[in-house]
Amino acid sequence: MDGILALAAANLVSPIILSFVLGLAAALARSDLSFPEAIAKGLSLYLLFAIGFKGGAGVAAHGVDARLVAALLAGVVLSLLLPFIAFVLLRSLSKVSAIDAAAVAGHYGSISIVTFVAASSLLTGLGIAAESYMVAVAAAMEAPAILSALWLATKRGGKAEQVGGELWREILLNGSIVLLLGAFAIGWVTGEKGLAEIGSFIVEPFKGVLCLFLLDMGLVAGRGLRGSRGVLSPGAVAFGLLMPLVGAVLGLAGGLALGLSLGGVVLLMVLAASASYIAVPAAMRVALPEANPALSLTLALGVTFPFNLTFGIPLYMMLAAAVTGS
């Protein structure tokens, strides 16, 4: 417990967090430091491939736990459920339109894979094991929230693009989901042997690449915050800080119900607490064009992501540790 506290504090001065802070500061100071779009995409392709593959290899190593299916279902349910809570919470805290609230809700039902990765590597640092298949749960949680968001938009906010097969394909075959699950499958099939073959590419340099990616995310988040002054009401900011806690608590409940390990519970909390800023924004632009994209993105990337990265993750750890009594 104290150990966790200490190491959680240490987390704040890890290269990963500080890289994000550097990017954020540089952007807010209007430095011209920037990553080419292609490099940012390349880094995220690497991260998705590596995290997926390692998860699959882990499953191959430790055998597939009966809970895998249950965990996947729980993830889907959480992703479907959270938007409704987010919608109500946001509407009660600020007076954004129903359409905007629905779009934001979709982001918070889905997940942020980088937050997940940061939490995983912190757990590894603490020597806390977690179910390897949690990465599959992460993939499973990306899309369902979009459904709920569109349902909310139609019921509460008037018309939204009705979800045709084309849109469905786009949502379910979203690049990050496909890569994450595909790499997971490859890792599972090739197992330890496969990991041995490409480990020096996807394991050793991983944290360093993550630093560069977070530096870029800091730059993008900072630019977003600068560009969207006035977009965020105090109520909206409050939502961006409260909603992750709500999600974390539900994730905790789910994790305990599933009987996941301490690490697994933490990761499910982190997934529930995090908000999407890649897959969902694109889907919302297609299906909910009337929603203001700046609002969702600034909340997810400028408020909730930094909060989770710095204080959220350690907090969720302590909560989980306290509850599970480990």
Partner: protein, 103 residues
């Protein structure tokens, strides 16, 4: 050189809508167009840049379409159906093309 009258349609639209737009164009029998990348811009919804962006949201593309004057309306109707509810701009200029048989 023999030139032929044509219209140059320039559609600047959200990157996420590119496929929908090209599908609509194909549907309207418009099979000739060129897509240019866009690195940034500004409009009523504010200023933006692609730098460091990973997601496809928050980016635009420019679709250029050279077309015979008589086919313009079909194109505009198809394009409008897509851009209608989305951010983006459509402009049409008079131009002249070589090798009209290609259009």
């Amino acid at each position: 050189m023999k030139m032929h009258n044509a219209k140059r349609v320039e559609i600047i639209i959200e990157a996420v809508m590119e496929r929908q737009l090209t599908n609509a164009l194909n549907g309207a029998g418009v099979t000739g167009y060129t897509v240019l990348p866009v690195s940034g811009g500004s409009g009523r919804s504010g200023q933006w840049s692609r730098e460091g962006q990973v997601g496809r949201a928050g980016g635009m593309v420019a679709v250029i379409c050279l077309i015979r004057p008589e086919r313009l309306d079909d194109l505009l109707e198809a394009a409008f159906a897509v851009v209608e509810r989305h951010i983006g701009v459509v402009s049409v200029s008079d131009t002249q093309v070589l090798r009209a048989e290609r259009f």
